[in-house]
């Protein structure tokens, strides 16, 4: 009697389908989102809020603006979920919406003058940290804060486009293909802009670090 189980040819090894499980769970979530299932939307928000918020803070360098922006981004996702073609990852689409909102907000803030809170100032930083239930001991907190400030100040020197590329690639770890889908730029352009951004960041970070070092003498 023949077996119903398909035998693999010699030399082939059965691999656990991790990637396909992730894809199918994303499809299930997307189907629920399209049916306006409230629990699905809540799941989406909780899964992506940290990444989206972090992205917004790095783009606009202002936590209050980032808080508002993140809300607008998720509301926009909720409104337009039918438009998502499902030929890309859901997270890629989320970042695309986030990037567009951030770029629009930056243009608006430049026209208006500045964001509502001080530009990453110490007073605001402390207030926000305290309100968020702020963290470790003073030394660790100071060193993490200094490192974060350094990176933010360096990123601020980049133009909006370069800033988003560097964040998407080097902070979020997205692939070039995903970045091409988010930015709608060809691969060569993504790579050359990314390269110029990193070169500039390298120079700026080196200068900031040497200024900090000489300031301590």
């Amino acid at each position: 009697m023949s077996s119903d189980v398909l035998e693999l040819p010699a030399g082939m090894v059965e691999v656990a389908p991790v990637a396909s499980a992730e894809v199918s769970s994303e499809r299930v979530l997307l189907a629920k989102l399209r049916r306006r299932d409230p629990s699905a939307f809540e799941q989406l928000v909780r899964q992506h809020q940290d990444r989206v918020y972090d992205f917004c803070v790095r783009m606009v360098s202002d936590r209050e603006e980032a808080f508002d922006l993140t809300q607008e981004i998720f509301i926009s996702i909720h409104q337009h979920v039918e438009r998502f073609r499902a030929d890309a990852k859901l997270s890629t689409w989320v970042f695309r919406i986030a990037r567009n909102h951030c770029l629009n907000r930056i243009k608006y803030l430049k026209r208006r003058g500045r964001g509502r809170s001080e530009d990453y100032g110490e007073a605001n930083e402390l207030a926000i940290t305290e309100s968020l239930g702020g963290a470790a001991g003073p030394d660790q907190h100071l060193s993490r804060k200094r490192e974060r400030d350094l990176v933010h100040r360096a990123i601020e020197t980049l133009d909006d486009d370069q800033r988003s590329l560097v964040i998407l690639r080097d902070v979020e770890g997205l692939s070039y293909e995903e970045i091409m889908e988010i930015t709608e730029l060809p691969e060569g352009t993504v790579k050359s802009r990314l390269h110029r951004a990193r070169e500039k960041l390298g120079q700026v970070l080196a200068k900031l670090e040497s200024d900090l070092g000489s300031g301590g003498d």
Partner: protein, 111 residues
């Protein structure tokens, strides 16, 4: 004689180094022969590493509940708008009929 790499070649070299790709013979030789290039690459790699290792911002605890509350409010508003659209007085039908009736009446009176 040391051959200087073009801008495009330097770009390719630096991107490959960050992406962990194996360098070609020419690229490795260029790095060995040009200390300034090596310094620039080290600074470039350090910048990328600093970014990767920089502390991430965590979304405030209130964010999710604020978003969900706004979405619920918006859903309620959309439902009210839809109800008004479904059951409202069809003015775009009644007004032309009334206008037509007035014009007809006027023509009858004039004639």
């Amino acid at each position: 004689m040391r051959r200087e790499l073009s801008k495009a070649e330097v770009e390719q070299l630096f991107l490959s180094a960050v992406d962990g790709e194996a360098l070609s013979r020419g690229q490795s030789d260029a790095l060995e022969e040009d200390p300034e290039l090596k310094t620039n690459l080290d600074r470039y790699l350090k910048a990328v590493r600093t970014l990767k290792d920089s502390p991430r911002e965590k979304a405030p605890d209130a964010l999710a509940s604020v978003v969900l509350r706004r979405v619920r409010r918006r859903r309620g508003l959309m439902r009210r708008v839809q109800w008004n659209a479904d059951y409202r007085f069809p003015v775009e039908v009644i007004v032309p009929i009334l206008l037509a009736a007035l014009v007809a009446l006027f023509l009858m009176v004039v004639s």
